[in-house]
């Protein structure tokens, strides 16, 4: 089998992993390559997802038989493997032509978790020590591998990750026999401890080696199992606070495999994935908690409105907000205001009071924000603001031809789906 064929098989098997970030590290040094703190996207594939890393599996052979996975043992597919030398060489050739920021290395389980982890480590070690490569490396950690091997991953990689994939133990039991919540969470917990310990050490001893400087991430598959948005967002929140994860990725379930344990979806739940990313953003950058966004009586995110708008409509007593007086944290909660425009509001009002016309110039999306703000006491929204009245207005903006509730792919793009799926943070 030639290199091109192997690459095709192994890129094809790796592409369902949503993680694309090359951010969070500023590795540099002698040799070739460096990492860029904010990450760099190099291209975008036909599905609009960014390419920043050579994302491949080392092998797509696997001893496991997970129902959702294209690489499952019982799937009759072509199998291929790359040697550590091939992986390091290919990464270097791509890197020096500036195709990529670095390597994303994952793998099926060949022979045993230990053996798989050893080979992956060898590939990355070669890249670092033989090619003197300082670019970005994201390494998957193989659940079940020996702790000493897992510990090494963070010494060579910028980011490490263990995918949870299925958001509950019950679903794991059903779809991923051979994996349990514990086998996934144990290495994740271990890595979190190592990262924290190294960070601590580097505070006092600057020369001590970096350990996964870009932190740890994970991925959840959306729509293969019955977990609610609330369960998923609560889980993400816990992962951010208890495991200090940098990112939780969501991957809309794509039925690549036929299996009677899996739902028959006509198309991947992209809109739901999009809403989950929006909610995730609200947790990480907007100071929201999961409980504020969803409760037991409303466990699903609204597909018609973004989660911040839904929260605002449920909390109309807090609005309209006077932008010349409100705190940064309050302004962040206004629909149509992002982190950048909130910062601009705070800055611009230092120089003088803001009028409604000014807000648009600061980047505020007024067609959403107008119902929730006043500037110098002036209000531009509907007169007697009720939840229903605002909803109708907002939907009119979305569907000028009057069709309510119809959501199209086009709308998704307009809303800025790109920001959530390619977000580099």
């Amino acid at each position: 089998m030639d290199l091109q064929e192997k690459l095709e098989i192994l890129a094809n098997s790796a592409k369902y992993d949503a993680s694309c970030a090359s951010s969070g590290s500023n590795r540099a040094g002698r040799g070739t390559g460096a990492a860029h703190q904010s990450g760099v996207c190099h291209s975008w594939t036909a599905d609009g997802r960014c390419v920043s890393l050579l994302k491949i599996l080392m092998t797509n052979e696997c001893v496991y038989d997970c129902a959702y996975c294209v690489n499952r043992r019982s799937n009759d597919s072509r199998r291929a493997s790359l040697t550590p030398d091939e992986i390091a060489g290919l990464t270097f050739e791509f890197y020096k032509r500036n195709y990529i920021e670095g390597l994303f290395l994952s793998s099926g389980i060949t022979v045993s978790p230990d053996r798989t982890m050893e080979l992956m480590l060898e590939a990355v070690r070669k890249l670092r020590n033989v090619f003197h490569f300082n670019g970005y490396v994201h390494m998957k950690v193989i659940p079940g591998a020996d702790q000493a091997l897992i510990d090494q991953a963070g010494l060579w990689a910028d980011r490490v990750s263990v995918n949870i994939e299925l958001p509950s133990d019950k679903s794991l039991q059903l779809l991923a026999p051979g994996k349990t919540k514990d086998t996934v969470l144990r290495p994740m917990h271990r890595l979190a401890q190592k990262i924290a310990a190294h960070k601590d050490e580097r505070r006092s001893i600057k020369s001590s080696p970096a350990y996964a400087p870009a932190g740890q991430s994970t991925q959840l598959i959306i729509g293969a199992t019955p977990e609610t948005d609330r369960e998923i967002i609560k889980l993400s929140e816990a992962l951010y606070s208890k495991m200090s994860l940098k990112r939780v990725y969501f991957s809309a379930f794509i039925p690549v495999m036929k299996d009677n344990r899996l739902p028959a979806l006509r198309e991947p739940p992209l809109l739901r994935e999009h809403r989950l990313y929006q909610a995730d953003w609200l947790l990480r950058f907007y100071g929201f908690t999961a409980d504020e966004l969803l409760d037991e009586s409303h466990p699903a995110l609204d597909l018609n409105f973004d989660p911040k708008t839904v929260w605002a409509l449920n909390n109309l007593d807090k609005f309209p907000l006077e932008v010349n007086k409100a705190s940064y944290q309050e302004i962040l909660r206004v629909p149509g205001v992002g982190v950048t425009s909130a910062q601009r509001i705070i800055r611009a009002r230092r120089a003088g009071p803001l009028a409604l016309e000014d807000l648009k110039k600061l980047g505020v999306v007024m067609k959403r924000a107008m119902y929730f703000v006043t500037a110098g006491g002036k209000y531009g929204g509907v007169k007697k603001e009720t939840e229903e009245a605002i909803k109708v207005k907002l939907l009119e903006h979305k569907n000028p031809n009057g069709q309510l509730n119809l959501f199209s792919e086009k709308e998704l793009v307009k809303e800025g789906l790109e920001a959530t799926v390619t977000g580099q943070l």
Partner: protein, 246 residues
């Protein structure tokens, strides 16, 4: 109205800016040979020349009287090469003289918004090209990349590639402006450049490109196909020089 003409370099622009700022009445700055340098009946044109002391004085103005970011805004806005960017920087500089560091807080003021907007556009394109530069290995092992950015972002890219590919020799050729950054033996120079004969590539080059194109095609998920989103992220105008779209 009086118009100061500059030769196209940043130093000559700053010289013109310094001269214009000294005059209380309204005046303009235009690039020699550009459309704005065409005379009307009542215009008066003055060659600004290039005076290093005046240029340094302008840098001082932005750095000392402006906020921590004013100098970068002015520099990036100039690199935008957008029509009217010179006069926008002039108005911005006048505002800084008047308001000091607080000028950059006037985000809803059109003078500030204009320069900040141009600077953001240049910074954004420079960041994109950190990803979009595509090197090809020549027979003598030099890495060669051709770019055609809207703005003059080449000066903002060299530091990035120097840090990454410092052990290689490389050329980034801005074909739109006929200029190149040449990095050879650890030294960096900018020079006007024209391509006279076809490039000779390294023997392995075609095979590596084929591998990359193959990888790129494979990495897309069929069920998520979204050409509109792809176009938004990789505008068609940039694709001519991207190996994966060749």
């Amino acid at each position: 109205m009086r118009t100061y003409l500059y030769a196209g370099t940043f130093e000559s622009f700053l010289t013109a800016l310094s001269l214009a700022l000294e005059r209380p009445e309204e005046c303009a700055i235009a690039r020699e040979g550009g459309a704005a340098a065409e005379g009307g009946l009542f215009s008066e044109f003055i060659q600004a020349g290039a005076d290093p002391a005046r240029a340094a004085g302008m840098r001082d103005l932005f750095e000392r009287q402006g906020s921590a970011e004013s100098w970068q805004h002015a520099r990036f806005a100039f690199l935008s090469e957008a029509a009217g960017c010179e006069d926008a920087v002039l108005a911005y500089a006048r505002l800084i003289k008047e308001r000091g560091p607080a000028a950059d807080d006037l985000l809803a003021d059109d003078r500030v918004k204009k320069v900040h907007g141009l600077a953001r556009s240049v910074g954004g394109e420079a960041h994109m090209f950190k990803g979009f530069v595509r090197f090809k290995e020549l027979a003598d092992k030099t890495l060669y990349a051709r770019i055609e950015p809207d703005h003059n972002v080449l000066p903002l890219l060299t530091g990035h590639f120097r840090a990454r590919l410092g052990s290689f020799n490389w050329i980034i050729h801005d074909a739109r402006r006929g200029r190149a950054a040449l990095y050879c033996g650890g030294r960096l120079i900018y020079a006007p450049i024209t391509q006279e004969k076809a490039l000779e590539f390294d023997g392995k080059e075609a095979a590596v490109q084929a591998l990359w194109r193959h990888f790129f095609k494979t990495a897309a998920i069929k069920e998520r196909t979204n050409p509109r989103l792809q176009r938004q992220n990789v505008p068609l105008k940039y694709r001519a020089n991207l190996t994966e779209f060749e």
